[in-house]
Amino acid sequence: MPEWYSHPFFLLLPTAFFTLAIFSFLYKDNPMFKLAEHVFAGLSAGYYFGLIWQSVIRQQVWMPLTQDGQWSVLIPGVLGLLMFARFFPRIGWTTRLPLAFVIGSTAGIMFIQQLHGMVLPQVGRTLLPLDSLRNILIIVGVLTTLIYFYFSKPHTGTLGWIASVGIGFIMVAFGAHFGYTVMARVSLLIGRVQFLLVDWLGVAR
């Protein structure tokens, strides 16, 4: 293999090409970007296919069946295949069975998770003594937010007043969220520019 080939510039050329193809969207929507979009979607679908083939079908169904003689894995295996039943109109409805199994049990887990893992500890830790401005503001903030999303009474009178305090708190929180979101997007851009300048072109370190 010739020497020049192993230079990062050439090794990373495909990566850089697709990076720039996506940045070209900033100028306007163009065939380069569209190509990148489709390559991306194809690779993603292929990634799922390879990953699931190896880690689910091979590891979780085929291996237990052939190596350990676990016949019971045939049940989820068949349920899983029923997912594809929708391509055949006559048995299409059977696709609801695996769906109902997964969504039903996820719902069971979620029901408990939300009440036990979220509501209980979050409410419990709001029981703070009224001995500092910080604690008072936290309690007021939690309760007024909760009350802002109370829909059974019109927001007039005292309730209206509480709700407007709530919306004040909510706007401060959204402002903070806004600032953090800007930070996140900017970080991603910095990461990509670092790739182009540091890893690919090697003009900075």
């Binding site: 697709f18 390879g50 169904v61 899983g80 997964v102 990509r192």
Partner: protein
């Protein structure tokens, strides 16, 4: 049968998970452990279905000579190369599958999102306006947090980082908690409706 059986399956599997949570050392535990393993397997198949569906849609585009058929063809080739190499050669590091992912796919994904930095900046200039008291509060809080969270912020005013900290840990935290509790109640009631067969949009209609 066609609609009753799935609802029954959802009910039984949901109830099983709830029972397992409250109980200990009964047969329910063993059954629910098995059910959890099965869930991971069935869930895997549904991801596979997603991949196959995308390929189907684009195969149709190629077959019907849709104007975008060249792009679709490109997508199919990528799908076959990536998926095929994963099935044949495996997915561990050093395989073609892994190289394609690390070199092409992962960088593309992060680039897609980095483009948003430009859009945020341009929207900041053109669209984010203090139209009302509430949006004014929002923008002021945003500016304070953005300044307080960068290294240079403390050189402008040494108190800025602690202001940002205060905004984050007092008012913002309180609101996040209020929203979290409200959202948890919403998700729990949705779960309950699914388990009891009241909510069946996920099963489709008819």
């Amino acid at each position: 049968m066609k609609s009753r059986l799935p609802v029954l399956v959802a009910f039984i599997s949901g109830a099983l998970m709830i029972l397992a949570f409250f109980g200990r050392g009964t047969v329910v535990d063993a059954v629910s452990d098995r059910a959890l393993t099965w869930q991971t397997i069935v869930g895997g198949f549904s991801l596979l279905l997603g991949a196959v569906s995308i390929a189907r849609v684009h195969w149709k585009k190629v077959a019907t000579k849709h104007e975008d058929r060249l792009y679709s063809l490109c997508l199919l080739i990528c799908f076959i190369v990536m998926g095929g190499s994963g099935v044949i050669n495996g997915i561990g590091s050093g395989t073609l599958f892994d190289t394609l992912f690390q070199r092409i796919q992962a960088p593309m994904m992060s680039t897609m999102f980095s483009v948003l930095a430009f859009f945020i900046a341009s929207a900041a200039y053109r669209a984010f306006r203090a139209r009302s008291v509430s949006s004014a509060i929002l923008l002021v809080a945003a500016v304070l947090v953005m300044l307080g969270r960068i290294p240079m912020g403390q050189y402008i005013y040494h108190g800025l980082p602690s202001w940002a900290d205060w905004i984050m840990t007092v008012p913002s935290m309180a609101v996040q908690r209020g929203i979290l509790i409200g959202a948890a109640l919403g998700a729990a009631s949705m779960s309950l409706r699914i388990i009891l067969g009241i909510e069946r949009t996920y099963l489709g209609r008819g």
